[in-house]
Every structure is written in structure tokens, then in C-alpha cells.
Amino acid sequence: MSVRTGSFSRLHLLLIGSASLFLCFFSLVLLADPTFAAPRPDALKIGVLAPLSGPYAAGGTSFVQAATLAVEQANAEGGVSGRLVTIVVGDTQGRVDVAKAEALRLVSREKVSALVGAYLSEETVGVMEVAAAHRTVLLVPVAATAEITDLVRREYARYRYVFRVGYSLPQWAEMISAFLSDRKVRRYAFVGAGIRWNRELGETLERIAAPRGITPAYTAFYSAGNPAFDTVAVAAAAAAPDIVILADPGRNSVSFLKRLREAAPALPALSIGGALGDTRLAASVPLSGPVYVQAAAWRGVSPAATAYVERYEHRYGAPPVGYSDTLPYDAVTVLVAAWRKAGNAATEAVVGVLERGTFAGVAGMYRFDAAHQAQWGTGPGALRGTFVRWEHGGARIVFPPR
């Protein structure tokens, strides 16, 4: 038997080289990731569920970054009764089965004291079951489906651990409807990704905006496989709406807006769901027509919001988008405040505090109703949200009037 030494050693070199590169690469990744920091045995753990891979990875990453920032802020203020707070992250990948499995891992293996997440409505409804079964507090920052708080209302004993910090679909529709009314909009086009919250938001907005005389001129949801942006943009423009509402938390919002600008350069567009709140993207978006973004809070709305934006920008090099980061930040802040008020992280005590208390966040003062829904909307004392308009050189707050 002969051994071809040349090719043998080359293969070995290739394998050793590749393995070394892998080791270096992933060592750097692990060292850079705050979730892999050495755990403190007495630290209070928050399980954070967000998609860090897949089509919603951008929003999920902002989610985790904001949660990390909130924990750092909490620890800088002394933690909870002298105990530090840490986060343990579960990557949901934007899938219900993975979200449930990760929630189960965080609760049963990582022994987290509470959960914050998930991202999509479908995922969050799945995670609610895990939280209910393990009697673990779950704070929901961004998932908006009505089912979440409906379940709390209908089966309080089972789901009383679940609190939604972000806006529900009716609240969201109310805020959008007020903005449309302020802009004198009568007909709108509603376009977005074909995912659950979009469809439900489209229906809810139609119902809530109707009494103001605002009606949909065109509605379409595209599929991820073949979004047919060109066709949707042409159809939306042909319907001659006063504004196009673009409901998409992912990258497709940019692609669609570019097509829309080609089809109808001056048609106003309103982005909801966070993606176009990114300054880096806004710089390349054509501003031949108004581009509005709806956010939970924005720099300049309040001193707390401005301080948060500056901290975020300093930490991560770019300002937050105002939705998929701001709401998770507030969710962690509210949770830590509840732990402090309760004096511990015991579930029943924390649930009682969350039900009765008022909590300061970046977007304003949070209080929960009987269905454990934070009070957003246009009523007195409600969290109002913010609408900004991108202009050359930055964003300007246009609604609510200040």
C-alpha cells in the first residue's frame, strides 16, 4: 500500500486550518456575547426570548441589545436588594416550536425568575403556555395579537403571570387612526408581510378607523418566498390612497418602499413594526414623498427617552429604532422595578405588584388593566407612542402634538 504523502499532508493542513479558524471565530463570538458571561450564583436571571437568526434576526438582535442595556442600567442602580440581575437568551428563530422549547429550557434548566418575550405573536402565544404551566412571570414587549390579553381575561387563574408591556392591536390601531386623522387621511392602503399580527392589525384598523371616516383603499399581504413587491406597489399606487401603511418588521419593508417610490414618488408612507426606524436605512430611502415611522418613543419625547437613546447609541454605535428595542428595554425595566417593590422575585408577589403598581419606562408611565395590558392609546393618562417623519438630516416628531 502506498501513501500519497503530498495530498495527505495538504488535507491535514486544510482540516487543521479550518478547525483553527472555527475555534478562533467562535471563541471571539462567545467572548463578545454578553449572554455567555460567567453567571453569578446569587444573580436574578431573566430569560429573554427573541429571534437571533432567520428573517426577524434584526429585530431580535435589537431586542436582546436593549434588554442587555436595561439590565446593565438596573445593576448600575444597585440591582434588586443588592443582588445583580443577568439575562439568559433563547433564540426563537421566529418559530413557534423553537420558542416553546427555548422557553422551557430557560425555565426548567436555567431556572430563570421571569421571561421577557417573545417577538412574533405566534411565538408568544406558545410561550404563554410554558409560562402558565411553570407559573413564571412573562412580560410581553412587542407581540400585539389580542389573543394574549384575551386569554388572561378569560382564564385569569391560568394566565395571570402574563403582562403585556407593548400595545395591543386595538390600541395600536387607535394610535394609527388618530395619526391618520391628524394628517387628514381619508383612504389608506395597508400592505405588509403575511404574518399573523399584520392581518389582525389590518382588520382591527379598518374597524377602528371607520368611525373617523377613514377607509382602506387597498389591502395586500405578500409572501416571503415571492413577495411580488413591484405588483403590490403598482396596485397600491393605482388605488390612489392618501397614504400607504407598511406593516413589516423585517427587511422587506425597505425593498417595498423602494418599489413604491418608483411607482409613486410622492405618495406618503407610514412604516409600523420598527424596520424603517433605523437611521442607517433611512439614509438610503428615497424621500421624494413623506416617510413616517411609528415608534413607542423617540429621542426628544422626554428626558428619559433621550437618555435611553444616547445610552443605546453609545453602547451599540447606532440609535434604536424605537420599537423592537424600546419596548423590550421597558419590559425589563418594569420587571426589575416590580422585583424591587416586591423585595424579591417570587412569582405571586411580583404578579400582585405588577397588577397594582405604576412603573416608569422610556415611553412613559406603565400601568396594567384587568387583562394585564399596559395602557396605550389616546385616552387620558395613556402611553401615546410617537410618529416621526424622516427628513434629510434626521427625523422630526410630528405626532402627537407636543
Binding site: L14, F25, V29, L52, S53, G54, P55, A57, A58, G60, T61, S62, G194, A220, F221, Y222, S223, A224, G225, N226, P227, A228, F229, D230, T231, V232, V234, A235, A237, A238, G250, R251, N252, V254, S255, K258, R259, E262, A263, A264, P265, A275, D278, R280, L281, A283, S284, V285, P286, A318
Partner: protein
């Protein structure tokens, strides 16, 4: 604005051009190297990131980015072809899994380098044609580039310089016995196809958002086009791409955008059930 239906059909033509642009490289790999390369979309993404990196440094023309992207992707492709594809060709299941792993690794690396957030390059204003019809710049680029690439490929395969490729595609043993370096031709072809994917990514980068996973959808559609058209006719690949682009747009217009993908795949299934070996196959392969 011009007649919306006319606009939709024109946009469908351009969408078909983007499918053809990706399918050109895929056809080369499937035809000559005879592997399903699931990392093809990753090279498309690489091209888009090269265009973005250049745009950040003031070079905003995708036409300028395409050659650089092609050179980088060619180097990566040759490395991948030589170190993994050629040795693993004997194991048919290893290649799709291995190339998929490479694609996922690239996506993770891109996420580490550029972040998961969508990035964007200015697309520039479209041209306005007769009757107010909107002619999208990137659409024209995709259509013309795919026609040029596939036309060039057709010429190479039918002329003398393409003889080794044709021979290897037909019978590798005969090619080897004639003194051709089959292994080298295979990995160079693989590299060339990767370069074509990267050039496509660079050219189309202003049309949408640049993200680590942006290559997945074009990968699937181009694979579908090549398999349905068959590898025997480059012209069929181009025409089928255009037909599918127009069909997808028409479905989105007449049915609903969310049904266009389903309708597209259903049409593909029907075509494959009628002609399993592809629409255009030489007589010898129809058995």
C-alpha cells in the same frame, strides 16, 4: 402612471431577468460539475455586501462593484470547489448538505461582520418611458445582464473554447482519457459560477435590502428554473425565467400577492410532472 397591467407585465419581465441572472451560474454548476450547490445564494449575498461596502466608500455604482464581487467570489468558489466539492463528489448526499452548511456559515459570518440589520444602497430614480410607464433601473440591468451572461454561456458551450466543458458534461472519462485536467476544469467552473452569482448580487443590490439571508429566495427560484428548464438549453433557461417572472406578477395582480408564490410552485410541479427531465432535453436523455 401608465396602465397598471402593462406596468405589472413589464415588472414581471424584469423579475424574470433576476431569476435568469441567478440561474445562469446554477446551470453551469449543475451541467458541468453535476452538483446541487446550495451555497449559490450565499455568493449572491456576498456580491451584495461587496456592493454595499464599496457604496459606503463612495463607489455607488453596482456596475463597478460587480467585477470586484466576481473576483472575490471566484477565489472563494475555487477554494470551495478544490477543497470540498471535488473530493466529496463521490458522495451524492454529502454535497447538498456540505454546501448548505457553507451557506449557513457564510450567513453567520456576514451577520457577525455587518450585523443582522438590513442595509441599503440608494437605487436611483427609475426612468419614465412612453405613456408614463416606469422602467426600473435594476430591472433593466438584471434583464440585460442575464441575457448577456446566458448568451455568453451559450456561445462558450457551442464554440471551440467550450469543448472541454461540453465533453466533461457528456462523459468525464473520455475527457480525462483525452488528457484534460477534469478536476481543474470542474473547480474552475465552480468558481466561475460562484462569480456569476456574486456579480448578480452586486448588480441587484440596490433593488432591495442587503441582509445575511437575502440569497435564500433567489437560490430556490433559480434552482427551480434550472431543473424545470433542463440543462441542455441555455435559451430555455432564459425564456422560462422570463415566463415565470411574468406569471408570478400576473398571479399577484389577478389573484393576490400571497398566492403568487403558491401559483408559481404549482405551475412548476405541473411542468415537472409533464416533463420530469426538463422542458428541453436532447433526444438521448428522454428515456
Amino acid at each position: 402612471m401608465a396602465s397598471p397591467l402593462l406596468q405589472v407585465l413589464l415588472d414581471g419581465l424584469f423579475a424574470g431577468g433576476t431569476y435568469a441572472l441567478m440561474a445562469a451560474g446554477m446551470a453551469l454548476i449543475l451541467g458541468v460539475v453535476k452538483v446541487i450547490n446550495l451555497s449559490h445564494g450565499a455568493f449572491f449575498t456576498l456580491g451584495a455586501y461587496v456592493a454595499y461596502a464599496l457604496a459606503e466608500r463612495g463607489v455607488e455604482s453596482p456596475l463597478a462593484a460587480a467585477p470586484l464581487a466576481a473576483v472575490i467570489a471566484f477565489a472563494f468558489g475555487v477554494f470551495l470547489g478544490k477543497s470540498f466539492v471535488n473530493p466529496a463528489r463521490a458522495h451524492p448526499f454529502a454535497l447538498p448538505v456540505g454546501t448548505l452548511a457553507c451557506a449557513l456559515l457564510f450567513e453567520q459570518a456576514a451577520q457577525m461582520v455587518w450585523g443582522p440589520h438590513p442595509l441599503s444602497i440608494e437605487a436611483g430614480a427609475p426612468w419614465i418611458g412612453p405613456g408614463g410607464i416606469v422602467i426600473r433601473r435594476w430591472g433593466v440591468i438584471a434583464f440585460l445582464s442575464s441575457a448577456a451572461l446566458l448568451g455568453g454561456l451559450q456561445w462558450v458551450l457551442s464554440a471551440r473554447p467550450g469543448l472541454p466543458l461540453r465533453l466533461i458534461a457528456e462523459d468525464e472519462e473520455i475527457a480525462g482519457s483525452l488528457g484534460m485536467d477534469v478536476e481543474a476544469i470542474r473547480y474552475l467552473t465552480f468558481g466561475g459560477a460562484c462569480a456569476m452569482a456574486a456579480a448578480a448580487g452586486a448588480l441587484l443590490s440596490p433593488s432591495g435590502a442587503v441582509t445575511p439571508t437575502m440569497g435564500r429566495a433567489p437560490l430556490l427560484l433559480s434552482l427551480v428554473v434550472v431543473i424545470v428548464a433542463g440543462m441542455d438549453s441555455v435559451g430555455a433557461i432564459f425564456l422560462l425565467s422570463i415566463a415565470l417572472g411574468i406569471f408570478g406578477s400576473a398571479c399577484a395582480w389577478f389573484l393576490s400577492p400571497q398566492w403568487s408564490y403558491v401559483a408559481l410552485l404549482a405551475a412548476v410541479c405541473l411542468l415537472l410532472s409533464a416533463r420530469p427531465a426538463g422542458i428541453v432535453v436532447t433526444a438521448g436523455r428522454l428515456d
